[in-house]
């Protein structure tokens, strides 16, 4: 269970690992925005080269990235089928009954596939090289302007980082509760909808009660250590842009310039 979505962080000493988490979040965000713009073969090529270089810089085995793509294989296949069958236009390549496969449909499907694969690779680069707590810190720092609108940014970041910290623990706990209930003869995968809805109750109640108990313990522990509010909390790690962050921004800018010149000039 530990290898899904969150907690995929792999410690390392590469250039990408050492970047400020804010740089990585901004970079990924800008990349995703640019990908929504991409609509020619050459733009996808430029983007693929950029992603390839970044992957090389992370010094992680390529297998990890391929593993990251595996869970979405079927979803991807589904999207491609949807694209191929629901895009109209001419010329028609194949024709069975009411289903028509058109050239624009196939091209669109390929574009959507490349777009998703590149976006997922880029966000995998971010999650592989950045611990979840740093992401929460970076979000707090990036959302600071919202403080003037009375949005409790510090509080939200604190909640997010604690929630992320306790996800693996709650997952283990779920597994334990499930095994305990199974050993009492509980079955989670048989019967009709009402029976299944009822079957999940003996799993959820201990999980919720455990979480409530932990929440109270943590609240007490925080108050004993003088916690008043998230706003005035001091930090152990203070985020600061360094030389390599400016270099990363420069290469992002260069990539954007090449991307747009390829998009509009070629």
């Amino acid at each position: 269970m530990g290898n899904i979505m969150i907690g995929r962080f792999v410690p390392g000493k590469s250039v990408v690992h050492q970047l400020d988490p804010r740089t990585k979040i901004i970079g990924t965000f800008v990349f995703i925005l640019l990908m929504l713009w991409a609509n020619t073969w050459s733009t996808y090529l430029v983007a693929a080269i950029f992603v390839w270089f970044t992957i090389l810089l992370t010094q992680q085995p390529l297998k990890m990235y391929i593993d990251g793509l595996k869970p979405i294989f079927w979803l991807l296949a589904f999207t491609i089928v949807l694209q191929i069958f629901f895009t109209g236009g001419t010329p028609v390549l194949l024709h069975f009954g009411f289903i028509k496969v058109t050239l624009p449909g196939v091209i669109n499907a390929l574009f959507v596939m490349f777009r998703f694969v590149l976006i997922i690779l880029m966000s995998t680069i971010m999650t592989l090289t950045t611990p979840p707590t740093s992401i929460a810190n970076a979000l707090e720092s990036l959302l600071k302007p919202l403080k003037s609108l009375k949005v409790p940014v510090a509080e939200m970041a604190l909640m997010l980082s604690i929630a992320l910290r306790f996800v693996p623990l709650l997952m283990d706990e779920t597994q334990k509760i499930m095994n305990a209930q199974k050993s009492r003869g509980m079955s989670f995968s048989t019967g009709g909808p009402v029976k299944r809805a009822k079957a999940i109750v003996p799993l959820l109640i201990p999980l919720f009660v455990g979480a409530l108990q932990r929440a109270l313990d943590l609240a007490n522990a925080m108050e004993v250590r003088g916690f008043k509010d998230a706003e005035h909390r001091t930090k152990y790690r203070i985020l600061k842009y360094k030389k390599q962050d400016y270099q990363a921004f420069a290469s992002l800018l260069l990539f954007s310039i090449i991307f747009f010149s390829v998009l509009y000039l070629i």
């Binding site: 899904i4 306790f166 997952m171 999980l207 919720f208 409530l212 929440a215 109270l216 925080m222």
Partner: protein, 202 residues
């Protein structure tokens, strides 16, 4: 005197963590009806939000709902291709119904059911479960329809004209199961949690 704010903050945080766990482990967040092929997967995360809102009130309930919305939005954008992601890439569809679930359930419970005795409260909690499912389903249907038919977009450029009816059908189909599940789950779980919370003086 304990600082109530810290306790509410931490309870909300742990419910956020449960929402995350439910979003990651699909069999804990969705009812396995065996009909995934057509995209039918009734979610039960709104009941986590509803139960959280019952414990901590409308303000933190709304935060919890908003967090669920953000999680859905994040998953819709980073794991595209599923039917849900077609709808929830629209930030309004992902966020508004979920915030409404936390806000309204928290408000209604505090206003009408909090001080009732246990027998009456069970009926109230069951109706809150039904209401949570309805707010989410109706909200998602309305916003998806608006997003697809008026704005002509699902934010990704995927052609939408043939799939709106299908999507709405799936959402209603899921909605029916969610209403039934809500009526069962919320009174059972909240009924177990509320006495504990009262004993711990929350």
């Amino acid at each position: 005197m304990k600082n109530r704010k810290t306790i509410y903050l931490m309870i909300t945080t742990f419910f956020m963590a449960i929402v995350l766990v439910q979003s990651i482990i699909s069999w804990l967040g969705y009812l396995p009806l065996g009909a995934f092929v057509v995209g039918a997967a009734p979610t039960i995360v709104q009941f986590t939000v509803a139960i959280g809102a019952i414990l901590v009130g409308p303000k933190y309930g709304a935060v919890l709902g908003g967090f669920w919305g953000l999680t859905t939005l994040y998953i819709a954008w980073t794991t595209p291709g599923s039917i849900g992601s077609l709808m929830f890439q629209n930030p309004f569809t992902a966020l508004l119904p979920r915030v409404a679930v936390g806000l309204l359930i928290g408000f209604i419970y505090q206003r009408y059911f909090k001080n009732q005795h246990v027998g009456k409260q069970t009926v109230g909690l069951a109706s809150l479960g039904v209401l949570a499912a309805l707010i989410n389903t109706v909200g998602v249907v309305i916003l998806t329809t608006i997003g697809f038919s008026i704005m002509q977009t699902n934010f990704t450029g995927i052609p939408t004209h043939n799939i709106l009816g299908w999507l709405i059908g799936i959402v209603w189909f899921n909605g029916i199961f969610e209403v039934i599940t809500g009526a069962i789950l919320v009174p059972l779980i909240a009924g177990a949690l509320i006495p504990i919370a009262k004993r711990l003086n929350i």
